[in-house]
């Protein structure tokens, strides 16, 4: 066992570091957040520009096959790059869904023509893709998608799309979107779905940002009103939409790491040292010391879980099922950290970053972000169901929708 870079890994790390030194500014403290004073549009522009520079230098999609413009690199190299990038002040990554989930599903399910046209601009950040999955009535139970795609009856070779999506990340900035739609309501729910991609500027597509609980608007509602979609924009066979979606979600599962800000427990220890409790430094208090230990155990434990996953990948094996718990532990740890940080400020804990200073921005983002992270990409409860059933072999709950045509299901 060892945690050392192999000679190849060390060389790659040095290469990344040299490139980053030449192209970005090194952080002066680990909790520094990029983009002071920039609005959402400006941040997105910066993110696109940064993605373009990365892509030009060969860091735009490290694990993609070279045939699609990627580096053909290993997941370990991806992690090495992220570790190094984490030490620099760079724009937030807006391309996790676009390049991590949607485009890889095109590799598997789309035609050569489609790939030749769309993969390059996505990689270079000039075109952003979003993923149109969840609906008001289809969240955890994603198979309940109601958005309809019906064959054109006017002689055009294509489909007419009607319905509504929700929780679509970056839809307001995206050029294209992958849509999961129902093409046959008379078969069981997972069998009647088909995937399409659409131009987000097409007639009949309307995007309305959702104001999140935190006040920001990262997600959107997207409405389809008689949107024409050419059949050439169908991805995979008619009725194979669920399979295409699962490919994308599998890619999400493998995009591990990058969730925990580095040095989180050190940040907490610093806050405890400065805060006072019972007339002494909070770090002298036994309860605080337990909290600090918990934070370290979770944060470092997640890093170790990832190290196990990477070791498996490095040996050409699938990572074990233990990675499925990372999101539960990660989100809860960040939420705990947010509470702790606010509590340590006493009455001043009520103040936002505008008043407390930029260093507070991270706390605010994690505190609110964690509440969303516990829901996004499968709620804690859904993940626990999946651990119980797939890992521990427990029986599923009885289901009333199995084998029943979608049209026969009550809402």
């Amino acid at each position: 066992m060892d945690f050392k870079d192999s000679p190849d890994e060390a060389a790659f790390r040095a290469e990344c570091r040299a490139w980053l030194e030449a192209n970005a500014t090194r952080k002066t403290r680990p909790d520094q957040v990029y983009g002071r004073g920039l609005n959402a549009e400006q941040l997105m522009a910066a993110s696109r520009e940064w993605q373009g520079r990365k892509a030009a230098a060969g860091y735009g999609a490290i694990t993609w096959p070279a045939a699609f413009g990627g580096r053909g690199g290993t997941p370990m190299q991806e992690v090495i790059y992220r570790e190094e990038e984490g030490q620099f002040e760079v724009p937030p990554n807006a391309f996790a869904v676009s390049l991590g989930m949607v485009i890889p599903s095109l590799f598997v399910h789309a035609s050569d023509e489609v790939r030749a046209r769309y993969v390059g601009p996505a990689l270079h950040g000039t075109e952003l893709w979003c993923q149109l999955l969840s609906e008001p009535g289809a969240g955890s139970d994603l198979g309940m998608v109601r958005t309809r795609a019906e064959r054109c009856t006017d002689g055009r070779d294509g489909w007419i799309l009607n319905g509504q999506k929700v929780w679509t990340t970056y839809a307001q900035f995206a050029q294209f979107g992958m849509v999961l739609a129902r093409t046959d309501p008379n078969v069981p729910k997972f069998d009647g779905l088909t995937s399409f991609f659409i131009d987000m500027q097409a007639a009949g597509v309307e995007v309305r940002p959702i104001r999140q609980a935190s006040g920001e608007a990262e997600f959107n509602e997207v409405f389809f009103n008689e949107v024409f979609v050419p059949d050439t924009q169908r991805v995979g066979a008619v009725g194979a939409g669920w399979k295409v979606t699962v490919t994308a979600l599998m890619n999400e599962r493998l995009s591990i790491g990058g969730v925990m800000p580095p040095g989180l427990w050190k940040t907490a220890a610093g806050m405890m040292r400065e805060a006072s409790l019972n007339g002494a430094s909070a770090l002298a208090d036994g309860r605080m010391r337990e909290r600090l230990a918990d934070l370290y155990l979770n944060a470092h434990g997640l890093w170790l879980l990832q190290a196990r996953g990477l070791t498996a990948l490095g040996k050409g094996r699938e990572p074990g099922p233990e990675l499925s718990i990372a999101k539960i532990v990660g989100a809860r740890t960040l939420q705990d950290f947010g509470y702790l940080a606010i509590d340590l400020q006493g009455e001043r804990g009520v103040l936002a970053a505008e008043e407390q200073g930029e260093a507070w921005r991270l706390v605010e983002q994690l505190w609110f972000g964690a509440a969303g992270m516990r829901i996004a990409g499968g709620t804690d409860e859904i993940v626990k169901n999946s651990v119980g059933e797939r890992v521990l072999g427990l029986p599923p709950e009885p289901r009333t929708d199995k084998g029943v045509a979608f049209s026969q299901l009550g809402s």
Partner: protein
């Protein structure tokens, strides 16, 4: 990055598991408990046959060049079966003390006895408490040791004593007929604890000790990692028992494991177990290369594994309902062992403090 056991170590794991599942089922721990035995002689000698007690020994003393990572594998598999054998006292404590504090010639006098199957133990408080120490007069030990793991069966012991000049000193003692032994009643009678009284018990000072406290500190960290693997094995097997029952047991017309109340509970156990596993592996790495992070890794493994085993054992009873509370079901064996292991080497609260002190150094 290579954060996993090797294929050879996994092969060893498979062999050990096969042996222990057959020779040390939970009924063996129960037999030791029911009959008031100190340990299972059959399982101990069987493990000896697999060369387990030569792990980490130098070749001159019967070792085979296999080491710390293999011993972690042994600990996990023994923990899984709640094997009633003196692994901790002999291999995690006494042997480690001799490896750290005895010169070559002295090691050659004592360690081959472990390779031959003898049992050894450590007589020193490892939980930070101040215990009255036996007195060493230069040749022999006098006085009492109130709490000694495997004290009933041990052939020799490393003892923290007051030396002729009154200062604490580590000695190794022959536990012969001069030692009066009294078995102690404990919360986990599948493991033996005894009070010892030394009456001119022959002993010699460890001859390569710089500072006894420093040595005990390192020893405590090494033992914590190995014990954490026993706890991890126990936690994993308690979860397997609970999941097995939840798949079979029906209530209100379906398996209880299909209810989220049970399913999510078991997923929570799994989560703690896997976090503990990550920290245990980190400990194994630190142990195997004597890393500067040893103290931090030991505390992390120790706390995570203690919490995981405690939770798995208690919720295994809960999952079994009333059946889980009977003598006949094995749930209480885990419940007992989990608590026994939780306080060996000091409680999680003491380890928590050790962890934070290490964090403060970073």
């Amino acid at each position: 990055m290579n954060f996993d056991f090797s294929d050879d170590q996994k092969l060893l794991r498979d062999e050990l598991r096969k042996f222990l599942v057959n020779e040390s089922p939970l009924s063996e721990a129960r037999r030791v408990m029911d009959q008031g035995l100190s340990h299972s002689a059959a399982v101990w000698s069987g493990l000896g046959g697999m060369a387990v007690n030569t792990l980490m020994l130098p070749e001159s003393c019967g070792g085979h060049g296999l080491g710390a990572l293999e011993l972690c594998v042994v600990a996990e598999e023994a923990g899984r079966q709640l094997a009633p054998v003196p692994l901790a006292s002999t291999l995690y404590l006494a042997v480690q003390a001799l490896l750290l504090g005895a010169g070559e010639a002295q090691q050659l006098r004592w360690l081959p006895r472990v390779a031959d199957g003898q049992i050894a133990t450590l007589v020193a408080p490892l939980d930070g408490s101040a215990m009255v120490r036996p007195r060493f007069d230069g040749k022999a030990l006098h006085g009492n040791a109130p709490l000694v793991m495997d004290g009933e069966a041990a052939h020799f012991a490393v003892v923290l004593a007051d030396g002729p000049d009154g200062r604490p000193l580590l000695v190794v003692a022959e536990l012969d007929a001069s030692v009066a032994r009294r078995r102690l009643a404990t919360i986990d009678p599948s493991r033996g604890f005894a009070a010892l009284a030394f009456d001119a018990t022959p002993a010699e000072a460890l001859d390569a000790v710089d500072d006894a406290e420093t040595l005990l500190d390192t020893l405590r960290n090494r033992a914590a990692i190995l014990l954490a693997f026993e706890q991890l094995g126990g936690a994993d097997s308690a979860l397997a028992m609970a999941a097995g029952y939840a798949r079979e047991r029906k209530a209100f017309g379906r398996a209880i494991g299909s209810y989220q109340g049970i399913k999510h509970k078991l997923a929570d156990i799994y989560t703690r177990n896997e976090m503990a596993r990550a920290h245990c592996y980190y400990g194994a790495w630190a142990l195997s290369c004597d890393a500067p992070e040893l103290a931090l890794a030991a505390a992390g493994a120790r706390i995570a594994a203690t919490d995981a085993f405690g939770y798995a054992a208690q919720e295994n009873i809960q999952t079994h309902g009333g059946m889980g509370y009977t003598w006949e079901m094995d749930c209480h064996l885990y419940y007992r062992r989990a608590r026994q292991l939780a306080v060996a080497l000091g409680s999680r609260h003491a380890w928590n403090e050790r962890l934070v002190r290490e964090l403060e150094k970073e």
